[in-house]
């Protein structure tokens, strides 16, 4: 399974369409296979990320706020989207692998006690 996370510094980016950096991780038998790739995008575009996700054969996207058009498009392309996630992307990835990441979740690391961007 391939997971794409829209990121900003150490956190899940707050807006899908304004994201300029993404992380792609491959998960095999509940473990991250190899080193996750961080890709710096040439610009910010929700459409471009959708296109990239299809090209990369992504199964799951973890992001912050996403417009319904992008969400429905990805759903139509059979890509699962867990949106509205707030907090460090590493935690989000761990929760996703453990299959416990829920849409709209505020991760523990996002609180005042956690690392802020």
């Amino acid at each position: 399974m391939k997971i794409l996370i829209t990121i900003h510094k150490n956190e899940v980016a707050s807006r899908f369409d304004l994201t300029s950096e993404i992380l792609i991780a491959e998960v095999d038998a509940g473990e991250i296979a190899g080193e996750p790739r961080i890709i710096l995008l040439p610009g910010t575009s929700g459409e471009d990320i959708c296109g990239l996700a299809i090209k990369e054969n992504i199964s799951l996207i973890i992001c912050g706020g996403i417009e319904d058009t992008h969400y429905q498009y990805l759903k139509w392309k059979k890509i699962k989207v867990v949106d509205g996630v707030i907090g460090p992307y590493e935690q989000a990835l761990k929760f996703a692998i453990a299959n416990t990441l829920k849409p709209g979740v505020i991760l523990p690391g996002a609180s005042i006690y956690g690392e802020q961007s």
């Binding site: 707050s14 706020g65 417009e67 319904d68 709209g104 006690y113 802020q116």
Partner: protein
């Protein structure tokens, strides 16, 4: 004594303000309010913002504010960062995406928060939902501006196809066409659909002012540049900064001013009249003229280099007599619009009136058609507009051909077409003025037939007609 009373009054009220439950007060507002600390973490938010974002205020305290409102403020120059650093308030339009995945247009007002001691305490963001205003703006101005240009003829459809292309680039556009064909509308539509739409669209008529005044109008002047220049004037180039400058009747521009325009187009900077300091501008130029600039160039009245500089994208608007398919559409549109404005109960035009209107030459094009309809709707006292309600210029034409019009019966737009005064199908007294619609249509058919080697299917396709319509027209014009 009075001063002492004032001091005591202020002191007691200040302590009252300190005791107020600020959040409860803000909860009654119909604006979203968010307080963040210097690290941009949420301190508090009001109820309206809870509804706007879809978050409960208790769960978001301590979270980075941007993760909660999900705005595009960072791409708009980060006004929160600026408020935190420079302690300046600012207003900015942008958007947010809420929990329901809806993008909402917002007017943000960001102000720094300061304690009474002067210590920085963060920032306050006020979020105003401007969805309704945006909707209204779109209704009034139209999203692309194209909605105001009416037409479904082949030539107009070609223009509509070119509009988005012209809007996407920053290249100069030259719009040509006879007077009243809608050059201004097209220029504005290009601006509205372009990236510059948030900035000004300024129109300058180059034929309306003498050379010296026009130079000052375009480039501005400094105080004392000439008698009467008692203060600095920015000029239209500077006022249009970031946006579009529409120079209409560019063919009337004097040669010295043509040189100055050329310089601005090349260097993007100029000297105001009497000024010694160069002014830089970022302006897109759209020009229009009813003159044949190519001919003016040949006669040495227009600079060739400027012509090529302006003629990057060319849009030629057809005259109304070449837009037969649009005539009824435009007539109905103007009739409905003017009838509604004047609150009249007129039902429509009589058949004779329609025949007369459709056989007129319209040298003033769409503008003239609109004026004629406005005149008729104003003058008509009953339910149907008859020929005697039309302007006198048209009436005189009707008298010349009345005998033939009386013999014709038209019931709908299709039969109206067949009733038009085409040469070859009517007595000589009914032949419209040379250059009328009939002549143009006949010439169009001949040209298309020649181009396609007489193939009627291809001719019909070229003219945008059905084969049966072409057949009917061929018979009408005696071309069989």
């Amino acid at each position: 004594m009075a001063k002492e009373k004032t001091r005591v009054f202020l002191q007691s009220n200040t302590s009252l303000l300190r005791k107020l439950d600020l959040i409860s007060l803000l909860d009654s507002m119909t604006l979203g309010v968010l307080f963040v600390d210097p690290a941009r973490r949420v301190i508090a938010m009001n109820r309206f913002l809870e509804a706007l974002t879809g978050y409960n205020r208790e769960e978001v305290v301590g979270i980075h504010g941007e993760n909660i409102i999900r705005s595009n403020l960072l791409t708009l120059g980060d006004p929160v960062g600026k408020a935190l650093e420079s302690e300046k308030s600012m207003t900015q339009e942008g958007d947010i995406i809420n929990q329901s995945r809806k993008k909402i247009p917002i007017r943000f007002s960001v102000s720094p928060l300061k304690l009474i001691t002067g210590k920085k305490a963060g920032a306050m963001l006020i979020l105003e939902d401007i969805s309704l205003l945006k909707d209204l703006d779109n209704k009034i101005h139209g999203f692309s501006g194209k909605e105001h240009i009416i037409g479904q003829s082949r030539k107009m459809l070609e223009i509509f196809e070119l509009l988005p292309i012209a809007a996407r680039t920053d290249a100069s556009v030259l719009i040509t066409g006879e007077t009243g064909t809608g050059k201004d509308l097209v220029a504005e539509a290009i601006h509205k659909a372009s990236q510059r739409s948030r900035y000004p669209f300024i129109k300058v008529n180059c034929g309306a002012l003498p050379e010296s005044l026009l130079e000052s109008e375009l480039f501005g002047h400094v105080r004392g540049a000439f008698t009467g220049a008692d203060k600095d004037k920015p000029g239209m180039f500077r006022l249009a900064h970031g946006g579009t400058l529409f120079l209409t009747e560019i063919g009337d521009l004097s040669l010295p001013l043509q040189v100055k325009i050329l310089t601005v187009l090349d260097d993007k900077e100029f000297f105001p009249v009497g000024g010694s300091k160069k002014v830089s501008v970022d302006v897109r130029i759209i020009t229009a003229t009813h003159r044949d600039l190519g001919k003016l160039v040949k006669h040495g009245k227009f600079r060739e280099d400027l012509f090529y500089r302006l003629n990057v994208l060319r849009l030629h608007l057809p005259p109304l007599r070449e837009r037969e398919e649009d005539f009824r559409l435009l007539l109905d549109h103007f009739f409905r619009e003017i009838r509604a404005n004047l609150n009249k109960k007129i039902k429509g035009f009589s058949d004779a009136c329609l025949t007369l209107l459709s056989s007129y030459n319209y040298p003033g094009n769409v503008r003239e058609l609109r004026n004629i309809v406005e005149y008729a709707v104003n003058v008509c006292p009953n339910e149907t507009i008859r020929p005697d309600h039309l302007p006198k210029a048209l009436l005189s034409m009707e008298q010349a051909s009345s005998s033939s019009f009386e013999n014709q019966e038209t019931t709908d737009s299709e039969s109206m077409e067949t009733a038009m005064a085409f040469p070859g199908t009517m007595p000589s007294s009914a032949i419209p003025a040379p250059g009328g619609w009939g002549d143009v249509e006949r010439a169009m058919i001949m040209k298309a037939l020649t181009e396609t080697g007489g193939n009627r299917t291809n001719t019909a396709a070229l003219l945008g007609w059905s084969r049966s319509k072409l057949w009917r027209k061929i018979i009408q014009h005696g071309l069989k």
